[in-house]
């Protein structure tokens, strides 16, 4: 065998191995969750609120946690996206030049990315106490927005940096302002990337337990106002997994499975959505 062939097969094996590791890891996680939680999966779980004694094996479901998590995840992603988009427009060359502001903003976002989510939880908690608001949906959204912001912003920023200069110049050349270019050209060209960034944030947000443990609280009823505390899937998993009762533990795994399905459905929805709206992207 020649050196080139050896090199070729070496990297082939390397790629196959890492693919198996990643795909296998995911399959394994799903399998374990299903294996342990399958016996607790039933329709009542996703349609009913917990009844008395649910957490010691009583009747009911975790609709409260499902609705709570969807609200927390969706709303915080919307807020994070609404903050991230202008930030990303702002730190592109058009507005910020090669400036220090952009570099500083990227550095800050990277640092924010590294901050543990429990810290954001603690921060949001302090803020809420300061404005005399206790554990609530709103507080949870604030904490999760902070968790997601760097992820969403950096993902979108990376995509925006790939927009060819010629494309922006084509718009500038017919008298477009920077605002026109940002909102009508860059945003369209980056639409698939923007959705991918939002999905990344959503996935992280809906699965995060540490940031909401102090802020969103936990309740067995559905929230009616932003100031109501709210149940959530990660905490439903967390609380039930700590139980010595195998029946309750199985319910924790079932809850984890539902969380997984939600993230999967969100991914599929995003894919479909992206395909629908990315046909104009110039390649």
């Amino acid at each position: 065998m020649t050196g080139r062939r050896i090199e070729e097969s070496f990297f082939r094996v390397l790629m196959i191995t890492s693919t198996i590791l990643i795909a296998g890891g995911l399959c394994w996680i799903v399998a374990v969750i299903l294996w342990r939680g399958a016996r607790s999966l039933n329709l009542a779980m996703v349609t009913q609120l917990p009844k008395g004694g649910y957490y010691i094996g009583g009747e009911g479901g975790i609709l409260n946690a499902i609705v709570g998590s969807l609200l927390l995840g969706f709303l915080s992603t919307v807020v994070a996206g609404a903050i991230a988009l202008p930030v990303c427009f702002m730190i592109q060359g058009d507005y910020a030049g090669k400036g220090r502001v952009a570099a500083l903003a990227r550095l800050s976002l990277d640092v924010m990315w590294g901050v543990p989510s429990i810290v954001y939880g603690a921060f949001a908690y302090t803020v809420m106490v300061y404005v005399s608001l206790g554990a609530s949906l709103l507080a949870g959204i604030v904490a999760l927005t902070l968790v997601q912001l760097p992820i969403v912003a950096r993902a979108i920023d990376e995509v925006m940096q790939t927009v060819p200069r010629e494309l922006k110049e084509a718009a500038y050349a017919i008298g477009a302002t920077r605002f026109d270019v940002a909102t009508k050209v860059i945003s369209r060209q980056c639409l698939p990337g923007i959705f991918a960034g939002l999905l990344l944030g959503f996935g992280r947000g809906i699965g995060d337990a540490a940031s909401i443990i102090l802020t969103a609280g936990y309740t067995d009823s559905l929230p009616h106002r932003l100031t109501d505390p709210v149940g959530s899937l990660p905490l439903a998993v967390f609380f039930q997994l700590g139980s010595p009762d195998p029946e309750v533990q199985a319910r924790a795994y079932a809850a984890a499975f539902i969380l997984l399905v939600i993230v999967l459905l969100a991914s599929i929805a995003t894919q479909l959505f992206t395909r629908r709206f990315s046909r104009h992207v110039v390649r």
């Binding site: 110049e169 500038y172 050349a173 017919i174 008298g175 050209v185 104009h280």
Partner: protein
């Protein structure tokens, strides 16, 4: 009065001086061809006319460019209004990430045209002017990126015309195109020169001979010679121009 007057224009990119003290007049409603070997500063000169140059990082500009007698590098110049006056056709056609229709309507829309009927009329008229209408009339709402390169370049021409410019700046607009598309573009430019001032950067001498009323020869950042096309091509006064036209320098 000449449409564009360049006075002592020098441009640097970082340490590199791309244009050296250029002074020249661009006549109104004629085709002015800028010729010269690659990297000589032709494109830089062109991009100084609509101030696209300043989007390039590290570009430094000295001297002045007067359009209709007004210095475009002056203090209170409205860059948007200036660029609206200057259509640009770049080397590689660059459709915007939207449909054929919206590519043409983009300019009028950002400049305030709202009525659907008006926009429809503009789109049809400009696509006809760029001889693209018959090929796309049934698929105006498909993505512009699906057109062939030649069609994309004509779309870019239509898009530029839609903002009613006075000048059309062309940067080797046929470089990426097949011969048939190139010929179509050339034909359109020839016809458009009745109403517009056209500045065409090209390294294809034959193209310059076919189209130019007026020629500028730029060499290593310097404007070597400028004059009526016949004079430059038949009896150039500078030995460098003669060498370039004879193909001795490229």
């Amino acid at each position: 009065m000449p449409h564009i007057q360049v006075r002592n224009l020098s441009v640097w990119f970082g340490e590199h001086q791309a244009l050296k003290n250029v002074t020249v007049d661009i006549p109104d409603r004629q085709v002015t061809c800028v010729i010269g070997p690659s990297g000589c500063g032709k494109t830089t000169l062109l991009r100084s006319f609509n101030r696209l140059l300043e989007l390039t990082p590290k570009a430094r500009i000295e001297g002045s460019v007067l359009v209709d007698g007004q210095d475009i590098y002056g203090k209170d110049v409205d860059v948007v209004a200036l660029r609206k006056k200057m259509g640009l056709l770049s080397q590689k056609p660059q459709p915007l990430p939207m449909s054929i229709y919206h590519n043409v309507a983009f300019g009028p829309r950002i400049h305030g045209v709202r009525s659907k009927r008006e926009l429809d009329a503009i789109v049809e008229r400009r696509l006809r002017e760029a001889s693209l209408w018959d090929e796309v009339r049934d698929r105006l709402h498909t993505p512009a990126s699906q057109l062939s390169l030649g069609q994309q370049q004509r779309l870019c021409l239509a898009r530029g015309l839609a903002v009613e410019p006075e000048v059309i700046l062309c940067d080797e607009p046929t470089a990426a195109l097949d011969p048939v598309s190139s010929r179509t573009i050339e034909q359109r430019l020839r016809e458009l020169s009745k109403d517009y001032t056209i500045v065409l950067v090209t390294h294809i001498l034959r193209q310059a001979k076919r189209l130019a009323h007026h020629v500028l020869f730029v060499y290593m950042g310097e404007l070597v010679e400028a004059g009526p096309a016949r004079q430059i091509f038949e009896s150039p006064s500078d030995p460098r121009t003669r060498a370039y036209i004879l193909g001795d320098i490229s």
